[in-house]
């Protein structure tokens, strides 16, 4: 698969800002247009994939098939709530992503799949699950398509949620509200994101990561700290620019990071890191896994169900990143830490320790190191030794 990033140069951001100017103008006049937003998304995606590329054709075929699947299921669900049909539809919707992940190991890796397929899949699954739950009563084509191809977070997230998208794209905003709650914060986010990605992450990569490619004790330690910080500033910067661009288009999104290195334990870390991914997994996998197993009596105890839930969820998250051993180990590593954290938070020792003077500082340092070691697994650096 050819990797193209949406916000990988200041030039790209410049083009995006030019593209959203029509929305900014009509929003400042107090108007809103779903069609205009859709058109801008189409242009952005055409620039991302280039019109004549094989990826562009794959995106179109993929979208047509998935939209058909979603609408067919929407009609079926009105007649029956059969679990087996639901599972079958989910399975079919997962197939394209599974094929892409498998083919990453084969000789067609460059032609199969397109950047963003992992992220658009979350939206499709969310729709199917919510249709099954009976939470979606009406589906407007322009909303569904607009939701799926909404361009600012297309390639690498954050994950947009259907409820929020519909709410945001349908509500009218007056010019004052647009100016203060969308335009100004949007621009701020883009500038901060660009600073994170093009200054801090760039410097870490240029002066530390690329210098310590050989194995030495000093190199390993520098890599250990620098890689984690690099990942944060690169990805958080990217997310901020995506969220900021989305704000300019009159659509609020949740922030993807909330000072993750201030987390005092791994549970808190996942409430602060890649928030759109962790809340998605919480709502659609973890919580449902726990409830299902409690309902059918497989687990008598919520704690036990939750602990298994952590491991299953984090392993799935690892596999979603790609079918590589280091991603699966990364998922397992975090799953185990979540279980240990859960046990630790319920101990008497914890309640005592929590009141101590340096608790915040020390627990943050320890959490940072656990996270950084996880990133080292994630990077594949350890496996390659």
């Amino acid at each position: 698969m050819i990797q193209i990033e949406q916000y990988n140069s200041l030039f790209n951001i410049y083009i995006y800002i030019l593209l959203v100017i029509p929305v900014v103008i009509i929003s400042l006049l107090g108007k809103k247009s779903k069609i205009l937003n859709l058109a801008i998304s189409v242009v952005m995606l055409s620039l991302l994939f280039r019109l004549e590329s094989i990826q562009m054709r794959e995106v179109c075929v993929f979208l047509i098939c998935e939209l058909l699947l979603i609408y067919i299921y929407f009609l079926i669900r009105k007649k029956t709530d059969s679990k087996w049909i639901y599972y079958l539809i989910l399975l079919i919707s997962i197939l394209p992503l599974a094929i892409v992940k498998f083919s990453a190991h084969g000789k067609f890796a460059d032609v199969i799949g397109f950047v963003g397929i992992s992220y658009i899949s979350f939206k499709i699954w969310e729709l199917i699950i919510q249709i099954y739950d009976g939470r979606i009563e009406r589906m407007k084509f322009i909303d569904t398509l607009g939701f799926l191809i909404f361009a600012p977070p297309f390639s690498s997230g954050p994950i947009m949620r259907y409820d929020l998208f519909i709410e945001e794209s349908s509500k009218s905003i007056d010019r004052k509200e647009y100016f203060y709650d969308y335009l100004v914060p949007g621009i701020k986010k883009i500038i901060l994101g660009a600073f994170y990605k093009f200054s801090i992450a760039f410097i870490i990569n240029e002066y530390i990561l690329s210098r310590y490619t050989e194995l030495s004790a000093k190199g390993a330690i520098a890599y250990f700290y620098a890689y984690t910080l690099y990942l944060f500033f690169d990805f958080a910067g990217y997310s901020l620019m995506a969220v900021g661009t989305s704000y300019l288009m009159g659509i609020k999104m949740i922030d993807n990071f909330n000072k993750p290195f201030l987390a005092r334990n791994i549970k808190e870390f996942w409430e602060r890191w890649h928030i759109s991914l962790s809340t998605w997994f919480n709502d659609f996998l973890f919580s449902r896994f726990v409830l299902r197993n409690m309902r059918n009596g497989r687990f008598k105890d919520t704690k036990k169900a939750a602990r298994w839930g952590y491991v299953v969820t984090m392993m799935t998250m690892g596999i979603w990143h790609g079918l590589y051993l280091h991603y699966i180990l990364y998922g397992l590593y975090h799953g185990i830490w979540l279980v240990l954290t859960d046990k630790w938070l319920k101990t008497k020792t914890f309640r005592k320790v929590k009141k101590m003077k340096y608790y915040n500082l020390i627990s943050r340092l320890i959490t940072f190191h656990i996270v950084a070691f996880g990133m080292l697994i994630f990077s594949g650096f350890l496996i390659s030794i």
Binding site: R135, D283, L291
Partner: protein, 79 residues
């Protein structure tokens, strides 16, 4: 005491494992540390057991159980 009030009291007493919460119906149970992220799942299971109504995690938000009054309101809306 209304049905929903009774139900909300019973559910939250069981989930929070204390009756201290009855002192103030608007007390923020999240801020006071009575409720964590699991509480939501326990509340879903309790509602199901007592009313037979099956909820999904996306049907209920943390704010819906953050105080006795907010749960009373939520229960009123699902019936």
């Amino acid at each position: 005491m209304g049905d929903n009030e009774k139900l909300a009291r019973e559910i939250l007493e069981k989930v929070c494992e204390t009756d201290e919460i009855f002192e103030d119906y608007d007390m923020d149970l999240v801020d006071e540390g009575f409720i964590d992220s699991f509480a939501l799942l326990s509340v879903i299971l309790e509602i199901e057991e007592r009313t037979g109504k099956k909820l999904q995690p996306t049907d209920i938000k943390k704010e819906d159980i953050s105080s006795i009054n907010s749960l009373i309101e939520f229960l009123g809306n699902i019936k």
